[in-house]
Structures are given as structure tokens and as C-alpha cells.
């Protein structure tokens, strides 16, 4: 009896996983379709460029305070942790090297993207979701206004352009914060730390590190739009849509980060 129950449990679990995978793949397919539709409408972007500028402002500029604060702590924490890990084994002249590599390849781009995803994917998911619930999307269709062109393209373009800029800004702040941390709490001179930063510096790392955040930007905007479109019911549906948008965008950012690390570096 117990064995039978165990087998049934395993079966349930297995089919649950299959189900989950299928749902995930369906969402992925729909997000890809949305990407395709967005790319198709890209040539029309300049006819309504003001919409994109509005989005750039709300997505990029309004994220600056949050990104700055986060960057300050990223810089300081990286230095502190590196010093602790190095103590007794690695000479501190390599401190700059370690901080530089981690900041420009992974922590800077991925951490910033995740933070922006949490701010922007929620807002896009909630906006599109409530527009769907209140029939505003239907109203647009009835007026022959293409929602992909007037809503999704500006948001996607804004994310793709603004996220790398935010990341560059965040890395600058993180470096300044790391330098200040070194000056005030670590027994390394500024000269040694800076020469460590420059040691083995590869511009390719920086370029790929920044460029990959454009991909993350597209992921954030498209998952937000997609789960907003899927919203059903009332306010609860919108809430669910935003949660799913954040979870999916963070997950996809990590997946794509891994793929890029695997194939590009």
C-alpha cells in the first residue's frame, strides 16, 4: 500500500513537472512571438519617437536613484568580501583585479538588471495588465491602434537602450564606492588598488558585460508585456501578472546570462 502510494506520488510529481515545463515552453513561445511582432514594427518607431522618449524617462531616469544606492553597496560589499576572502592567502595587490573582474563581468550587469527588472517588469506588467482588464487594449484595437506598435515597441526600445546606460552608471558608482571603501577601511594604498584594477583589464569583458544587458532589457520589457496581456479577472489577475512577470524576467535573465557566459566568454 505504501509502495503504491509512493509510486502515485512520484507519478503526480512527474506529471506536475511535465505540466510545468509545458506551461513554461508555451510562455516562452508567446514571448518569442511578441519579440517577433515587436521587431516587425521597429521601422515605424520613428513616427512616434516621443512615446519611446517618455518610456526612456520613466524606465531609465526614474530608476537612477535606486540603481545608484544599490551600486554604492555593491562596490563596498565586493571590496569587503574580497579582503576577507584574500586575508592570509592572496596578496592585497590583487584586490583591484578581483573587484574589477567581478564587477564588470557579472555583479554589475546582472545585479543591476535584476533590480531594474523588479522595478520595471512589475510596472509594465501592472500597466498592461490593468489596460487589458479595463478593456483599454480592446479600445485601442477598435480605434485601429496597434497595441504592439504604440505600447510594446516603445517600452522594449526604452529598456534595450536604457539598461546598458544604467549599468555603466551603476558600475561607475560601484567603482567610486569601492575606492572609498579601500581608502577608509583597507590597508592598501590607492595607487596599489588602482594598478590592481588595471592589471589584466580586458576591454572585451566590459563591452560584453554592458552589451548583454540590452538582451536583459528586452527580456524585462517583453515578459512584462506578455504577462500583462495574460492577465484575467480583476485586480487579483493584475497582481498575479506582475508577480509572474518579475519571476519570469529574473529567471530568464539568469538563464541568458549563463548562455552568454558559456558561448561568448
Amino acid at each position: 500500500m505504501i509502495a503504491l502510494r509512493f509510486v502515485m506520488r512520484c507519478g503526480d510529481l512527474f506529471f506536475g513537472m511535465v505540466d510545468g515545463c509545458a506551461v513554461f515552453l508555451i510562455h516562452l513561445a508567446r514571448i518569442s512571438a511578441l519579440l517577433l511582432a515587436t521587431l516587425q514594427r521597429l521601422p515605424l518607431l520613428f513616427k512616434n519617437i516621443s512615446l519611446s522618449f517618455e518610456q526612456m524617462y520613466s524606465i531609465g531616469v526614474e530608476s537612477l536613484p535606486l540603481v545608484t544606492v544599490i551600486a554604492v553597496f555593491i562596490g563596498a560589499t565586493t571590496v569587503t568580501q574580497a579582503v576577507y576572502q584574500f586575508s592570509g592567502f592572496v596578496p592585497l595587490k590583487y584586490l583591484g583585479l578581483a573587484v574589477c573582474k567581478t564587477l564588470i563581468t557579472e555583479i554589475g550587469p546582472v545585479f543591476t538588471s535584476m533590480v531594474v527588472a523588479q522595478r520595471v517588469a512589475t510596472s509594465i506588467g501592472a500597466e498592461i495588465g490593468s489596460m487589458k482588464i479595463n478593456e483599454q487594449l480592446d479600445a485601442m484595437t477598435c480605434l485601429n491602434l496597434d497595441s504592439v506598435r504604440y505600447l510594446f515597441v516603445p517600452k522594449t526600445v526604452a529598456c534595450v537602450i536604457m539598461l546598458p546606460i544604467l549599468v555603466i552608471w551603476s558600475e561607475c558608482i560601484a567603482f567610486i564606492s569601492s575606492i572609498l571603501t579601500v581608502l577608509f577601511s583597507v590597508h592598501v594604498t590607492l595607487f596599489v588598488y588602482i594598478s590592481g584594477l588595471k592589471l589584466l583589464f580586458n576591454p572585451f569583458d566590459l563591452i560584453v558585460g554592458v552589451a548583454k544587458t540590452s538582451v536583459f532589457g528586452a527580456i524585462i520589457a517583453l515578459t512584462g508585456c506578455h504577462f500583462g496581456l495574460e492577465a484575467k479577472g480583476g485586480a487579483e489577475g493584475v497582481g498575479e501578472a506582475t508577480t509572474k512577470a518579475v519571476m519570469a524576467s529574473c529567471l530568464l535573465i539568469l538563464v541568458f546570462d549563463f548562455l552568454i557566459a558559456l558561448y561568448v566568454f
Binding site: E127, N134, Q136, D138, A139, C142, L143, N144
Partner: protein, 464 residues
């Protein structure tokens, strides 16, 4: 409505044929057929969740049907093989006002209205501004409203802005999805006025989905009722009021009694026929069922013997009609008809004869009255008629005519004798002093008793 309607041309402007739609396993539209003429205002009524809005969404291409088709001036615009992108051209001729107006809440009123104009036309800013001001004026809003955000507006104002947004594209057909459902009575009236004025000024064809019967009566040229995915009625407001279908009657009188309608409809259609076939009755009698003088088991059901309203239903209908007559200042008369000496007759000629007399009487009474009137069987041999909109000056003559038609029948007993059955009628008129149902019934009964005392087979009016 003092409006001259242009005579509709033969071919309808918009025609919906056999429209079908499923959502998952749920059949929402089964077989919807509608035809709308140019310049006509059609109201689609029905229960919430009955698929009214779904019909509109099919017309404007937000949904693709599973079966059937929609034609606009003979040209097919929607069918299962069409794609949403095929609607781009058609939508220019259609406008839609959503429930709650669906204004874009990130844009102010002015931007909401100009958005479609800027994208689809090449007008200059001045021209666009002029169009917007004109549209706002048409819906009764001032120019200053343009800077307000949708969140600052009340429900009625939102609806008007939504209407203005649809109007600037100059649609030929306007579709309204519950335009007045969330509005107070004054705002509802204003929106109704607007819909009518658009028909007058722009000769616009309108299709209004609503469950507000007052609005439907006010604006509609045609009312179509949808139930269980089918159009079960389509006709003028006067026709729907006169309809004998209990479901329709329950709906247009108020939804609280819907369960009668459903149970009556389930009664193998017998409830719809309003009268029972005498042959069928005889069969029932020979099979040993005695139904003479039997009260209906379920007081909510229609009277099983005659198919008229039961006593309980009668009380509710009477109260509603009294309310309505007080509100609309229309006359209302209650007539109590009592079959003369029915007990004695059935003692002599058998209870079958008594049943036959009752059935025949119910049949004749229901034939004598108009669609807006009601007939009920109160007790074994007492019937009641509610006559609405009957001139009180002529009431005696009217009722006497009914009496003559009722007694103009000869029943044959089992022994082959021909017997003429007569009735005594008492009338009571509703007035400001007599506005209670109980008082009215009491007065009518008194008048009926007076008619019996004064020699039977006659009509008496209760003297106030």
C-alpha cells in the same frame, strides 16, 4: 419619441447569421440571428453573462466566431476564416463605447480624443483641435475638460469622453456596451439623450447592449432579447411588453422572479401556451385525475388547469402594475369575474363539466384581453383581470364586451344537454386613495358580490 425615422431600406445594414461561439467547453452563443437597419437603434437585452457583449465584440472583430457570419451591407466582415487583421478596414466604419469607457488612463482627455486622429489622419493641429472641441460639445462637455486626467472624471463624464473619442472618427455604426450600467438615473438619462441625439444629428445606426429596461424602452426602435445563446425575441418595445413568454415578462418586469420563468419554461412548454386543450383535459380526466377545484400544488407555478397566472403570481403582478400606474399616471382597473352557479352546475352535470367550464373560461378570458393586461385564476371559480391603460369612462362598456364574449359559448354535457355558462363581474378602479392591492381586490370583490345580488350575468362598478 417624437422622432421621424427614415424608412428602413429593404436590405439591412448589418446582418448577423447563425453566430456561434464557445469559450472552452462553454457555449456562449448558440445561434444568433439579427438584422439592423440603417438609422435604427437596436437594444440587445438579456441576463448578465448571457453573451450580449460577445455579440458586439464579434461585430468589431475583437473575437472571431466559431460558426456563422456577419455581413455589413452584404459584404462579409466576420466568419471563422477571417483573421483579426481583416477588420482594419471595417473598423473605420464602426465605433465602440466600452463599459466604463476604457479611456487610456496615462493620457489626458484631449490626448485620448486626439490619439486616433493623429495616427490615422493628416489633419493639422488646428483642424484636430477644432474637431475635438466639436466632439466635446456634441457630448455636452466644455473645452476646458481637455486637460483633465481620466481619473479625475466621474463615470458619466468618462462615458461622454469615450463617446467623443469614438465620434471623431465619424463611424456609421456605434456599438455601446452597457453604456449606462454604472450610472445614476440622471446621468443615464443624459447618455440616453445623447444616443438619441446622435441618431437625429448624424443619422447614426446604434446597437446598444444593456440590461436596463427603462433605457431600452426609451431609446430602442427594436429590442432583441438574448437567452442561452439565442435570440428569443426581436421586436418593438410595444411588442416586447405585449409578449406572453413568461421568461421575457419576468425579465422586463424585474429579474427577481426569474425562477418562475425558468420553471415555467421547463414545464414542457405548456406554460407558454396559456390555455389547455379541452381534449387533453378530457383525457386527463378519464385517466382518473380529478383536478376540479384543486389549488396548484406549488403556489408559484402557473395555474395548471387554465394556464393563467396563479393567485400568488397575481398578487405580485398586481402590485407591480399598481406601482407602474402610480408612476406613469396611467389608469388601472381590476375586474373580478365569478362563474355563476358553478357549484350547482357541477353537482348536476358532474365535475368534468365544471372543469371544462373553467378551462373554457380561462381560454376565453386570455383571448379577450390585450398584451399589456393580465388574467389570473384566484380560486376555484373566480378569475381576475388587470386591465391597464383602459379609459375609466368606458370601463363598464369594455368589461361588458368581455362578459358577452365570455358567455358566448355553449357547453355540452355528457348527457347531450347544451348549457350556457354566465359570469358576474365586479370592477374596481385604482386611484390616489385606492392604491393598495388589498383594497383594490376587496373593492372588486364587493362589486362582484353586488352583481350577483342584482341578478347575475352582469357587470357592476365599485362606487367609491
Amino acid at each position: 419619441m417624437a422622432i421621424d425615422i427614415e424608412k428602413p431600406t429593404d436590405a439591412p445594414l448589418l446582418k448577423i447569421e447563425h453566430l456561434k461561439k464557445h469559450f472552452g467547453n462553454q457555449l456562449v452563443l448558440d445561434d444568433v440571428n439579427l438584422a439592423i437597419n440603417k438609422g435604427e437603434i437596436m437594444c440587445i437585452i438579456g441576463q448578465s453573462g448571457g453573451g450580449k457583449s460577445v455579440v458586439l465584440k464579434h461585430i468589431i472583430g475583437l473575437m472571431i466566431p466559431d460558426g456563422g457570419r456577419i455581413t455589413l451591407e452584404g459584404e462579409e466582415i466576420s466568419s471563422p476564416t477571417k483573421k483579426p487583421s481583416d477588420f482594419d478596414k471595417v473598423r473605420k466604419r464602426l465605433g465602440m463605447l466600452f463599459q466604463g469607457a476604457a479611456l487610456f488612463d496615462s493620457k489626458n482627455v484631449g490626448e485620448n480624443i486626439t490619439f486616433p486622429l493623429r495616427e490615422h489622419t493628416k489633419y493639422s493641429d488646428e483642424q484636430i483641435q477644432a474637431i475635438v472641441v466639436e466632439a466635446l460639445e456634441m457630448v455636452g462637455l466644455q473645452k476646458g475638460f481637455q486637460q483633465k486626467m481620466p481619473s479625475e472624471l466621474s463615470g458619466g463624464m468618462r462615458s461622454r469622453v469615450g463617446l467623443a473619442r469614438a465620434l471623431v472618427m465619424k463611424p456609421e455604426i456605434m456599438l455601446y456596451d452597457e453604456p449606462t450600467s454604472a450610472l445614476d438615473p440622471i446621468m443615464t438619462d443624459k447618455i440616453n439623450e445623447l444616443i438619441l441625439s446622435l441618431r437625429d444629428k448624424l443619422h447614426m445606426t446604434s446597437l446598444v447592449v444593456t440590461h436596463d429596461m427603462a433605457s431600452a424602452y426609451r431609446i430602442a426602435d427594436t429590442i432583441a432579447m438574448i437567452s442561452e445563446g439565442k435570440i428569443i425575441f426581436s421586436g418593438t418595445p410595444a411588442e416586447i411588453r405585449a409578449s406572453r413568454n413568461p421568461y421575457i415578462q419576468q425579465f422586463i418586469r424585474g429579474q427577481r422572479k426569474l425562477h418562475y420563468a425558468v420553471s415555467a419554461a421547463a414545464d414542457e412548454g405548456a406554460a407558454f401556451s396559456q390555455h389547455v386543450d379541452v381534449n387533453e383535459l378530457k383525457q386527463r380526466l378519464t385517466s382518473g385525475k380529478r383536478i376540479f377545484s384543486r389549488r396548484a400544488d406549488d403556489p408559484n407555478r402557473q395555474d395548471t388547469l387554465t394556464g393563467l397566472l396563479s393567485a400568488n403570481q397575481f398578487n405580485e403582478v398586481l402590485e407591480e402594475e399598481l406601482e407602474r400606474s402610480a408612476r406613469d399616471a396611467e389608469p388601472l382597473a381590476l375586474v373580478i369575474c365569478d362563474i355563476d352557479r358553478l357549484k350547482a352546475l357541477s353537482d348536476i352535470h358532474g365535475t368534468e363539466f365544471g372543469d371544462m367550464a373553467l378551462v373554457e373560461m380561462g381560454k376565453r378570458l386570455s383571448k379577450c384581453i390585450r398584451g399589456s393586461d393580465h388574467a389570473a385564476r384566484l380560486e376555484s371559480d373566480t378569475f381576475a383581470l388587470i386591465l391597464t391603460k383602459t379609459d375609466p369612462g368606458n370601463i363598464m362598456k369594455t368589461v361588458d364586451r368581455i362578459r358577452q364574449r365570455v358567455i358566448d359559448v355553449v357547453l355540452r354535457t355528457q348527457k347531450g344537454e347544451n348549457i350556457r355558462v354566465t359570469v358576474s363581474c365586479g370592477i374596481a378602479l385604482a386611484s390616489e386613495t385606492v392604491s393598495e392591492a388589498d383594497t383594490l381586490v376587496h373593492n372588486a370583490r364587493e362589486a362582484c358580490a353586488a352583481a350577483k345580488n342584482n341578478g347575475r350575468n352582469r357587470v357592476e362598478l365599485h362606487a367609491p
